[in-house]
Each structure stands twice: as structure tokens, then as C-alpha cells.
Amino acid sequence: MANRLKVEDVNIYYGAFKAVEGVTLTFEPRSVTAFIGPSGCGKSTVLRTLNRMHEVIPGGRVEGSITLAGQNLYAAEVDPVAVRRTVGMVFQRPNPFPTMTIFDNVVAGLRLNGLRNKSELADAAERSLRGANLWNEVKDRLNKPGAGLSGGQQQRLCIARAIAVEPQVLLMDEPCSALDPISTQAIEDLIEELKTDYMIVIVTHNLQQAARVSDQTAFFNLAATGQPGKLVEVGPTPRIFEHPVHESTEAYVSGRFG
């Protein structure tokens, strides 16, 4: 399919430190890819290069190519701001904007990019909140502060905010690690639904979650602290969990380390 996201021979640095080395990966549209691996192995770093968020950290840079639909996201003429509009992101800790109401939070991406039309904003807000399975819970209090919601609701609010700008790809950096099991369930159901419209890449420390939600799983590891992280193996999720090729993958998915 045309709108593939391809990562080829990518090395990622923070200043002089090589954080990740030699990653090659392909993401299919309308599929969920899970990144698993021990802490510090570079999962989140790789995820953040997919929408150039790692550049926010001083010294962050990338070698190699990352292409979406054949277009290099790191070409000189590409605007990182535009990349982030196409490749949205949800973070580990829910981060609704504290000065804004629920409604303002959802349409923040549209409004801050210049959309003023009230009915369009209202439509987008309802569509996104329905998309994030939050509409029924908040439709009567759209003017209440976003920070007043529960943790799980806040995270769905952030997902609604991310899909309001209609990205093609949705990156999720451990979206459930700060949530209770019920909210986690809600997010996982949501991922299943969002899959029909978006390409989703999720970083998770929860192996069962990776097994439940993803079509493809990528296992990252690092030889030792201070060494760059590497992509050990990637493949369809059932194969990675049942017949991993590498010993370290086997050890990790069976819970022997990490």
C-alpha cells in the first residue's frame, strides 16, 4: 500500500551519544505495531523519531531515512511541524492543557493552527470525542476543565486531541502505564477501533498488552548500559511470542529478564 512508513538504517544520537543503532522497519497502514524491550533500549527514542519529536531534546539527531508514503521525513525542505500534524502522538502521562476546558483541549490542535470557524470546531470536537469513546462521558460538561477528568478519561481526551488534527499515523508512548486496568481496557478497545483508520505504533512494557493489541511486534534490546539500543527482531505478533528467532527475544517474552 502507498502510505507505508519505512525506517531504514536509522541511527539516533543525543549529542555524541549513540542511543539507537541500525534500525530497519516497515509499518503498514491500518495496523498496530508494538515496540517491546527492556528499559533504556531505545523504544521510545525510535518512536519519537517517527514524528521528529526527539529533536525537541537538545542534541537529538538522526542518520538514515524515515519515509512516509515515499517522502523522506528528514529531507531538508520538510517542516517538522508539518510532520507532527501528519504523525500524531499520545504520551505516557496524560497531559491535557491545564488552562483549557475539555472542549478547548480537543480542538487545541485545530485552533492553534488557525481554524476559527465555530461550527467546524464543534463538529471536530464531537467527532474526535466519539472517536476516543469519551463523548458520552463528557458531552454535558465540555466547558469544565480538562484536568478535572480521571486519569483514564484524561488519556482518552489526549487521544481525542491527537485524532482531531486527523493524522495518518498515531504514536503511543506507553499510553496505559499510568492507568488502572479498567481504563487500560478502554484504551485497548479504542486502539482496536482506531486501527481501521490509522496506522498505530505503540510502545509498551506490558507484554500481554502487546500480544492483545498488535499485529506486528518489534523487540529492542541493548548489549549493555551505555551501548546503543538495537532492533533485535520484528515480525507478526504471534510469531514473535510463540516462535521467536533470537534467544534474547525468547528470554524477554517468556519473562526471564526485563
Partner: protein, 326 residues
């Protein structure tokens, strides 16, 4: 692979949770369960003594710190309130009133103080906030360190030095008159570091997750700063500005050097001397032995305190109206 290691592997494959639970149980049995009765009494005598001593020292320090505060406020209110009750205090100046006379008001000084504070704030608040934004959001490397260092130095400059610097430039070098605007310039020097430092602290308190959340929506950096970061830090920034304003409104040295007192209303920043509350206080202070002057001095001091208080209340109200929603 030997038989034992295979068995170990099989056991290790049990779910992580079940292994954890088993390990905790074993530890509990071994270490925690004893037949001794639990220790539920209060700590030892020495520990209780330490607690008492710490408590007494803490309360005593608090009481000691409150003494001068209450004393000053009490004195100023007690000696100054009477003149403030007369409407003439707020409407008349001291024009044609001798030091020994009673009557007249402080409106000339109040106006001067408010005008100078407003102009000082109008110059130093934008400069200070933009500098803080640069330091927190953009500044990297040598330039940022240099700016930060300069702000540190500026905040350590005594007010008399700032005043003499402006005098040297304004009067000695350029040959201009001593006017209200020159006072404002020296007050700006004193206010900028306060605004920069407090705004900087407030911006640093804004969680990075909010900036990243905004960037991830494809929002450019400058819009992220103006629409997400600044509103989130707004109440803190206002508080900092108010602190800076309170400091410069009570400042006296620059006024004595650059803005001598007059008894008449003078609202032109660019022509003639401009009276202010601190210079009025100072003027009446020199009239030793005159009860009328002493009374005016205390009244002017109380007026200054009330103006700073009112500004703080307005600031708090503004900060509460448009800030983080809970």
C-alpha cells in the same frame, strides 16, 4: 543442557506475578512474622525531647519573625490613619502649605508614584518576560549563560548605584534635566532582574509534557509558548511582576537623586520635578519637631503600603480569573 537447569527454566517460566507473590510470601514468613508483641508505644524519651525542642524553636522563630512585621504595621496604621480619613488627603496637594501647617493632601505624591510605577512596569515587564522566555525556551550555550549571569549581577546592583548610573548617563553625559522619566529608567534597572528571575522560575515549572503535547499536535513553537506555556504560568508571572512593582514603588534612592520632591501636582514625566510618596515621606521626615509634618509622614507611609496592597489584590484577582482551571 542438564536436567536441573531445564527444571529451573520451567519454573522461571511461571508468570512473573506468581513468582513475585511466592517470593514475597517467603520473605514475609522468614522476617516479619515473630511472636513478639508489636511496638505501639511512643518513641524514646530522647526522641520526644528532640521533638519538643524542635517545636519550640520553630514557634519561637515564627513569633520572632512576626514581631517587626506587626510592629511596623501597627505603628504606621496607628499614627497615619487619621489623615487618610479626610477626603482632602486624596484630592489636594501640599501646594502653598508650609511644613508647620496642617491640611492639604497627598494626591500629588500618589499620582507621581502611580505614574512612575506604571511607566516602569510598561518598560520592564515586556523586557523581563521576553528575556525569561529566551532563557527558558530558546537560550542554549554561551549567550544564554552570559545573559543569565548579567541578570544575576543586575539583581545585585544597589538602588543607589542604579540611580547614579542613570544620573551619569542622563544628566552628566547627555546634559538632560532631572525629570520623572529618568527616575523610571533607574527603576527599570531594578525591576527587570526581579521580573526575569520570577518569570523564569514560573516558566520552568510548566511541565515539559505540555510543550511536547502541543508540538505533537503540529503546533509551532512560538504558538506553543504564547498559547500554552504563558497561560499556564500566568498567575505566577503576575505574582512576580507584583513583587517587582512593590519593590520599585518603595524605592527611594533613585528618587532622591533623580526626582526631587515638590509640593505641587506634576504629572509630566518629561518636564520638571515629580513628587512621589517616598520623597514626600523623606521631606516630612526632615521637619523634625513639627507634629504636622510627622503626621503627614506616617500618613504617606500608610498610603504607600495601601497602594502596594491594592495592587497585589488586583494582581491576584487577575491571576485567578485567567489561569490554571481546577
Amino acid at each position: 543442557m542438564s536436567a536441573t537447569s531445564a527444571a529451573e527454566t520451567a519454573e522461571a517460566r511461571g508468570t512473573p506475578l506468581s513468582r513475585l507473590v511466592a517470593a514475597r510470601r517467603a520473605a514475609y514468613r522468614a522476617d516479619v512474622v515473630t511472636d513478639d508483641p508489636p511496638q505501639l508505644t511512643r518513641g524514646s524519651a530522647s526522641r520526644r525531647l528532640t521533638d519538643q525542642v524542635a517545636r519550640v524553636v520553630m514557634w519561637a522563630s515564627f513569633g520572632l519573625a512576626m514581631v517587626p512585621l506587626v510592629w511596623i504595621l501597627g505603628t504606621v496604621v496607628a499614627r497615619g490613619y487619621e489623615l487618610l480619613l479626610a477626603s482632602s488627603w486624596w484630592t489636594l496637594s501640599q501646594r502653598n502649605i508650609n511644613a508647620a501647617d496642617v491640611g492639604g493632601g497627598a494626591v500629588h505624591a500618589i499620582q507621581g508614584t502611580l505614574i512612575q510605577a506604571a511607566v516602569t512596569a510598561a518598560i520592564s515587564v515586556p523586557l523581563g518576560i521576553f528575556t525569561a522566555i529566551y532563557l527558558v525556551e530558546y537560550g542554549r550555550g554561551r549567550l544564554a549563560r552570559a545573559v543569565s549571569f548579567m541578570v544575576d549581577i543586575l539583581s545585585g546592583v544597589p538602588s543607589i548605584v542604579a540611580a547614579l548610573f542613570v544620573y551619569a548617563v542622563w544628566v552628566t553625559t547627555f546634559g538632560f534635566q532631572r525629570i520623572g522619566f529618568a527616575v523610571c529608567l533607574s527603576l527599570v534597572l531594578l525591576m527587570i532582574p526581579v521580573v526575569v528571575r520570577s518569570t523564569e522560575e514560573m516558566l520552568k515549572l510548566v511541565p515539559n509534557g505540555l510543550r511536547e503535547g502541543s508540538y505533537a499536535l503540529g503546533v509551532p513553537k512560538w504558538i506553543t509558548i504564547t498559547r500554552i506555556v504563558l497561560p499556564t504560568a500566568f498567575s505566577g508571572i503576575v505574582t512576580g511582576v507584583m513583587l517587582g512593582l512593590a519593590r520599585v514603588m518603595g524605592e527611594t534612592a533613585p528618587l532622591l537623586i533623580l526626582g526631587p520632591y515638590t509640593k505641587s501636582i506634576a504629572t509630566n514625566l518629561f518636564d520638571g520635578y515629580m513628587p512621589t510618596l517616598p520623597t514626600m515621606i523623606n521631606q516630612d521626615r526632615t521637619e523634625i519637631g513639627l507634629d504636622s509634618a510627622m503626621e503627614r509622614m506616617w500618613a504617606a507611609a500608610l498610603t504607600l503600603i495601601l497602594i502596594v496592597l491594592a495592587l497585589n489584590l488586583v494582581g491576584r484577582w487577575a491571576a485567578r480569573r485567567s489561569s490554571v482551571r481546577r
